[in-house]
């Protein structure tokens, strides 16, 4: 076995006195798609944000492609990395946010071109050519000159995916990419993600889309209250969950999917 692309060991994180991650382990091989599921407040989004150091972890270690994230070992001691080196580590990790976070003062094309030119120092012409190809790939070849405010939520999220891909990352992180979308726009974003997965992109996806996880994921991780409750192949975790908490969550997701007037589950 070769080294996994992402290796997280015993990751812990507190906000003040609240411990939101209590020893998370995760291994993701190159080309693998991992879906993190769990109720809100379970820590899955926080864990995702730790992988590219948007959150600083208190315990454990995270390696991405062999690089220890946010830390360096020198003279037998760990040192926190300065901002500049953290920025360098982030260049190879793409991230897609729940609320898109496109730059509203730039057109779709400018959004995608910005980081390759300003961060990687690529030539503008070459970066634009690749950006156009990426926007074409997410189905927005005709919207390159539009500002984010002129695009629908689903279109904005697809631009955001193209923007992250423009840095040619080794790993893509998705933080509930469809949660802020109107229901009829969810499909177009999931279609793009499905295509990425089929092309062998390594992806870690925090999502509530159980059907997407079942279809696309190689590994499903179910989290609750800061710990991993259950993990494995989607058919096992989603089809035949062993833990009560997983079963409750999946049952609640199913009722939520079928009727909008589902009563809140007890507990």
């Amino acid at each position: 076995m070769s080294e996994p692309l992402v290796r997280a060991v015993n990751v812990s994180k507190s906000f003040g006195h609240v411990e939101v991650l209590k020893g998370i382990d995760l291994e993701v091989d190159a080309g693998e798609v991992v879906c993190l599921l769990g109720p809100s407040g379970s820590g899955k989004t926080t864990f995702l944000r730790c992988i590219n150091h948007l959150e600083r972890i208190d315990g454990g270690r995270i390696w991405v492609d062999g690089d220890l994230i946010g830390l360096a070992e020198r003279g037998g001691r760990l040192h926190r990395l300065p901002d500049k080196q953290i920025a360098e580590q982030r260049r190879d990790i793409g991230m897609v946010f729940q609320r898109f976070n496109l730059f509203p003062h730039m057109t779709a094309l400018e959004n995608v071109v910005e980081a390759p030119v300003k961060v990687r120092g690529e030539k503008r012409a070459a970066a634009e050519q690749r950006a156009l190809a990426l926007l074409e790939r997410v189905g927005l070849g005709d919207r390159t000159g539009n500002y984010p405010s002129q695009l629908s939520g689903g279109q904005q999220q697809r631009v955001a995916i193209a923007r992250a891909l423009a840095m040619q990352p080794k790993l893509m992180l998705f933080d509930e990419p469809t949660s802020a979308l109107d229901p009829e726009l969810v499909g177009e974003v999931l279609a793009v993600m499905r295509e990425l997965a089929a092309d062998g992109t390594t992806m870690i996806v925090v999502t509530h889309e159980v059907a997407f996880a079942r279809e696309v994921a190689d590994q499903v991780v179910f989290m609750d209250a800061g710990v991993v409750v259950e993990r494995g192949r989607p058919d096992d975790v989603l089809g035949n969950p062993k833990h009560e908490r997983t079963r409750t969550f999946l049952a609640r997701m199913r009722t939520g999917e079928q009727t909008t007037s589902a009563p809140p589950a007890a507990g």
Partner: protein
């Protein structure tokens, strides 16, 4: 005329009498009388010597005062103020307590001192540094006196008097107005930076941008939308505040020059009218410029485009209401 619809007939187009507003016509009449009275005053009162007003406006000393003491000073003071203000705002938002305290103390001082008083002080800096200014090693004179060679200085270059350095008193004025303005611009820039959603910082940083690059390419351009309107007001206020340069005093300045003419000719109303006209012309031109600037930095937020989804994650910011 339209009549109520007959039974069984569906009501059609409405052809109704609009509400009358008789008091509007009364107010129009009252205002018309007041305007006529004002016009009569302006034309017939001999104190408004209009030909003298125009003559005063045309004096070369006055025009020079307007170009240098008013316009150039406004441009240079606002440049100092805007650059200083953005720097102060970034320092103020820094995690480094020392830097944010420096910014706070600066703002505290320059906002607390009236501009007129401050200008009196910066205009007299020459007295403060009577022997001149030079670049060298700080406190080297202490070491020199310990070694018994009080005249010895380490690496000192360019000792010269403050008047040589500043060229004229107007530099003291620009320094005073600029530093005072920086304190106000700091608050405006800070509000602008804080109005940009945190998600924008995160998106920029997730792409591997350094904080400086994220600030310059992502945050500040969006903050400009909130910063520009109050800054336009600051420019207009600064243009008017150049008249405070009499505190130094700066002689190459519009209001000083017109005041001189007024004192010599006793035509004070006419020279004041000339000053008013100059300031109104300049501020009107600035307001046109402000309109175009606001349009430029409103890109991507236009009202002509489709309504922006609330979920787009960009807060419009409290400053937008200004």
């Amino acid at each position: 005329m339209s009549t109520p619809a007959a039974p069984g007939e569906r009501p059609g187009r409405i052809d109704a009498v609009e509400v009358r507003h008789p008091w509007r016509w009364v107010s129009v009449a009252v205002i018309a009388v007041l305007v006529l009275m004002l016009a009569h005053l302006l034309v017939t009162n001999p104190a408004f010597d209009w030909s003298f007003t125009l003559e005063a406006m045309n004096q070369s000393t006055v025009i020079r005062g307007f170009l240098i003491g008013t316009l150039l000073t406004t441009v240079l003071s606002m440049t100092v103020g805007i650059l200083g203000g953005v720097l102060l705002a970034v320092l103020r938002l820094s995690e480094n307590r020392v830097l944010s305290s420096v910014s706070w103390v600066f703002t505290w001082f320059f906002r607390g001192v009236p501009r007129y008083v401050l200008l009196g002080f910066t205009g007299s800096l020459g007295a403060l540094f009577g022997t001149g200014l030079s670049i060298g090693v700080p406190f080297d004179f202490l070491f020199s006196s310990w070694f018994g060679t009080p005249e010895l200085r380490a690496f000192t270059i360019g000792q010269q008097s403050v008047y040589d350095l500043l060229g004229s008193t107007i530099v003291g004025g620009i320094v005073g107005l600029g530093l005072s303005e920086a304190a106000y611009m700091a608050e405006i820039a800070r509000a602008g930076i804080l109005s940009v959603d945190r998600g924008q910082h995160e998106a920029a940083e997730a792409l591997g941008m350094s904080r400086t690059l994220a600030m310059r390419r992502v945050v500040l351009p969006q903050a400009m939308r909130v910063i520009v309107p109050p800054t336009g007001n600051e420019v207009i206020a600064m243009l008017k505040d150049t008249s405070l340069l009499v505190a130094i005093p700066v002689t190459v300045e519009l209001f000083y020059q017109l005041g001189q003419i007024g004192q010599q000719t006793y035509q004070v109303v006419a020279t004041n009218m000339a000053a008013i006209l100059y300031y109104l012309i300049a501020t009107s031109i600035l307001m046109v410029g402000q309109y175009f600037l606001e349009r430029r930095f409103g890109r991507g937020f236009g009202t002509s485009t489709a309504a922006r989804p609330a979920a787009a994650g960009v807060s419009l910011g409290a400053g937008g209401a200004k």
